[in-house]
């Protein structure tokens, strides 16, 4: 049987590399070892993907849905029900990094296709991911590469490839942007079948050699008749790219960093951690699985518990997984998508190519009220399967005193490492309620109600906002 620290560490890993896990799963994983779980997470192909036949049999309107929130709801379904948590978490990571928004694309199924591409490329080489990104129809439309022509370049894609997707500001010149853009001329989308009135048809990448500028180019000190893939080959060998990607991984998986636009003036919070990730990138020629293996096995990751404000998607999905009331197809996933939206994260529609501001900026007055009401509402509902399991486990432990009551709830929900101030308030509540009593049916019923209140308070706490 793993000890409390091993279970707590596993809880940390599953919150960050996934969307949390129930107590029984944490114990089973901790029994197998931390390192074994990291390897399992890094190899999602060993677990079945979401059964799309089942999904589209029962919710056929989710397939290629005409508009949000159904497309968002489909992704939430996948996050809640996946057996490949890190793959899905990485899809969210890449969506945050390569932000592509429906506000312009106006074709959410096409962005959903982009998310599916992120799943396929999530553990491969960064170079291949960037190539697929450059060929992705939603991205081409989002950053105007369909308007990037031989002799009349549009620099939007070329600029963001360097500024927001690989190297960061300060590591290239305006001339580099121009010649990168020239290299991507001819990378466009096939003529599209209109969406109405028979539903969506997927877009397809098309390379038009007659529209490609095949002339001599100069890019980051290299000379040649570069095409798009040549540009990406040069980009991924830049030290700035390794550092930029390392910092993004740290910010998403380890601890909140300053906002991305300030990175050229604000150094990393933990330069040594970034150096380790950069070394992993260099040693593996930019392999993402290799970087993630170093990250999750590092001390800097293991010691960074509750140093990350949950994004709305993380808060909603992890709470639902805890409550256990959205397993498999059922009506209502659109309500979860709306909840993410109301909390400030419209999946498939980030506010700009710069993406969401994260960390503490997820929280404002309105968002906090939504977050608290959502988490407290679910965790306090003693009819939900996940909550019933917690109640059953507490009863099985024989928790009775107020201290055992509070400690048991915090342990089974996390284990959560709450501040002394929060724990003191929870203990006051438990003491006022008189602890738990399982001696009669009437007392047991009262105890269940008390646990519901306690779990709702935990969900409403400041500490619960952190992963």
């Amino acid at each position: 049987m793993p000890d409390k620290e091993q279970i707590a560490l596993m809880g940390h890993l599953m919150r960050r590399a996934g969307f949390g896990a129930a107590r029984q799963e944490l114990e089973e994983r901790a029994t197998k070892s931390y390192e074994a779980t990291v390897e399992e997470l890094l190899h999602p192909e060993e677990k079945p993907p979401i059964d799309e036949d089942i999904l589209y049999r029962y919710m056929p309107g989710y397939e290629g849905a005409l508009g949000p929130p159904i497309n968002q709801a489909e992704w939430v379904y996948r996050m809640v029900n996946t057996e490949r948590p890190l793959e899905e978490k990485l899809a969210l990571f890449w969506h945050q990094l390569f932000a592509t928004g429906n506000s312009k694309v106006d074709n959410p199924p096409e962005i959903t296709q982009q998310i599916a591409m992120f799943r396929r490329q999530a553990f491969g080489d960064f170079r291949d991911l960037l190539v697929e990104l450059a060929k992705n129809p939603a991205m081409i439309y989002w950053l105007d590469n369909n308007g990037n022509h031989n002799g009349a370049i549009n620099e939007n894609w070329g600029r963001e490839l360097l500024e927001l997707f690989s190297m960061g500001v300060g590591n290239y010149s305006e001339d580099d942007i121009k010649d990168a853009s020239r290299a991507f001329t001819g990378w466009t989308i096939e003529p599209k079948i209109p969406r109405n009135p028979l539903g969506r048809f997927y877009w397809n990448f098309e390379y038009r050699p007659e529209d490609h500028d095949d002339g001599e180019k100069s890019f980051l000190g290299h000379e040649g008749r570069f095409n798009g893939e040549d540009i990406i080959d040069i980009v991924v060998k830049q030290p700035a790219t390794a550092r930029f990607l390392a910092r993004h991984l740290y910010n998403f998986f380890v601890a909140d960093e300053p906002q991305v636009p300030s990175w050229n003036i604000n150094p990393p919070n933990d330069p040594d951690a970034i150096d380790q990730l950069v070394a992993a990138y260099d040693e593996s020629d930019g392999n993402l699985r290799a970087m993630l293996r170093v990250l999750f096995n590092s001390d800097f990751f293991k010691n960074a518990r509750f140093a990350h404000v949950k994004s709305p998607a993380e808060l909603v999905v992890s709470t639902v997984r805890l409550a256990g009331n959205f397993e498999g197809p059922r009506p209502g996933f659109n309500s979860l998508a709306f909840e993410c939206n109301y909390q400030g994260q419209e999946l498939l529609n980030p506010p700009s190519v710069e993406s969401w501001h994260t960390g503490g900026e997820w929280i404002d007055g309105g968002a906090l009220v939504r977050r608290v009401n959502f988490a407290a509402g679910l965790m306090g509902d003693i009819s939900l399967p996940g909550v019933k399991t917690i109640i059953s486990d507490l009863k099985h432990r024989g928790a009775t005193s107020p201290q055992e009551f509070v400690d048991g709830c915090l342990d089974l929900v996390g284990p959560l490492d709450f501040s002394e101030a929060t724990k003191s308030e929870l203990l006051d509540q438990a003491t006022e309620d008189g602890g738990l009593n399982w001696e009669s049916e009437a007392e047991s019923e009262k105890s269940k109600q008390k646990i519901g209140v306690m779990l709702a308070l935990i969900g409403a706490s400041r500490d619960f906002q952190f992963a």
């Binding site: 036949d53 589209y56 049999r57 029962y58 919710m59 056929p60 309107g61 989710y62 397939e63 290629g64 849905a65 005409l66 159904i70 709801a73 096939e190 003529p191 599209k192 079948i193 209109p194 109405n196 009135p197 028979l198 539903g199 048809f201 059922r330 009506p331 209502g332 996933f333 659109n334």
Partner: protein, 332 residues
């Protein structure tokens, strides 16, 4: 191709009906349909979440005659409407595989009653999917999550059933659609087992319809099944976006892939009103639009015309089985 010639049969594409519509003229993720009096067709739409659930009355010549049913859990409402059939008086029976009940309307759409109790005991339902009346006016219900077929009176009294979980003869894995042929044999689309099974009226296994070892006749998630006057069997091969045709003894005949090169009148009206759509359609390769997308249900009328409903394209495609087809000049 518009005309498919195979194994002594000729299937000639005729026309299509319908388009996408959240409400009113159009369908939304339609799941099943049934022929009514004259040229009337009832189409049941699943919609998505709490929008678009209804039964549409439409004629074969594209007249929209209204809709009934709505989203919700009350009388005459649906959460996950799935299948539809008519009794001998023309009353409309519809299954809901979330609410686990059968709702009954008169032919004009006035709600009459409903029945169904969730569970796995005799006469209880778990995810009722396809429904079909037999020659005695009793209703066969694909009790999908219980992996069995149950027979009820019109009023919902349990009469019997057959089937159990598994992949052997007479066993099911999340079955979906069902039909009864002219002889009273029952055909069940055994969805997750990728096959269709036929039974006699007493539930005794008769014929298996599935792909052979070389993949010929393969099915991926068959949903609907229908039988014509000559015994040929049509199966909507939902996962492969096609219709597979088999002979009555289970041998594979041919494949229909969808041929709606000419939009339906509803669709054409929509296109004609949007110059940008006209231009876009002239630029694009339109072939994907012709093809079946999630064919979900099939019925054959008294003339052996084959109607195929597409959940993914919100329309019916119609093929005629031509009986007097001759190729006069093979050296064209």
């Amino acid at each position: 191709m518009l005309t498919t010639v195979a194994a002594g049969r000729v299937f000639d594409y005729s026309y299509c009906i319908g388009m996408y519509g959240m409400s009113g003229q159009g369908f939304w993720s339609p799941q099943d349909f049934v022929f009514g009096e004259g040229d009337l067709i009832y189409v049941i739409s699943r919609g998505v979440e709490e929008i678009g659930q209804r039964i549409t009355r439409v004629t074969r010549d594209h007249q929209f005659l209204g809709q009934f049913g709505a989203s919700g859990r009350g009388d005459g409402q649906f959460v996950w409407p799935r299948s539809i059939d008519l009794d001998s008086q023309g009353n409309v029976f519809a299954s809901d595989d979330f609410l686990n009940r059968i709702s009954i309307f008169d032919k004009e759409g006035t709600f009459l009653s409903s029945w169904g109790e969730v569970g796995s005991g005799e006469g209880e339902l778990a995810g009722p999917s396809g429904i079909a009346f037999d020659g005695d006016d009793n209703l066969l219900v694909v009790d999908s999550a219980n992996n069995r077929i149950q027979k009820f009176t019109k009023e919902g009294a349990f009469l019997g059933g057959f089937g159990q979980p598994g992949n052997g003869d007479g066993e099911f894995n999340l079955p979906w659609g069902i039909c009864v042929d002219r002889a009273g044999d029952v055909y069940v689309a055994d969805w997750k087992n990728n096959r269709v099974q036929s039974f006699d009226a007493d539930g005794n296994f008769k014929v298996m319809f599935e792909g052979n070892d070389n993949g010929v006749g393969d099915l991926h998630g068959p949903t609907g099944v229908a039988v014509d006057s000559e015994g040929d069997v049509y199966i909507t091969d939902w996962g492969n976006h096609r219709v597979q045709v088999f002979g009555s003894d289970g041998h594979f005949v041919t494949t229909l892939v969808g041929d709606a090169q000419q939009p339906s009148p509803w669709t054409q009206t929509y296109i004609d009103a949007n110059p940008d759509i006209i231009k876009a359609r002239r630029r694009a390769n339109m072939e994907p639009e012709w093809r079946f997308r999630r064919p979900v249900a099939v019925n054959v009328d008294q003339n052996d015309s084959i109607f195929v409903l597409e959940a993914g394209r919100h329309r019916l495609q119609v093929y005629d089985k031509v009986k007097d087809y001759e190729e006069h000049s093979l050296n064209l």
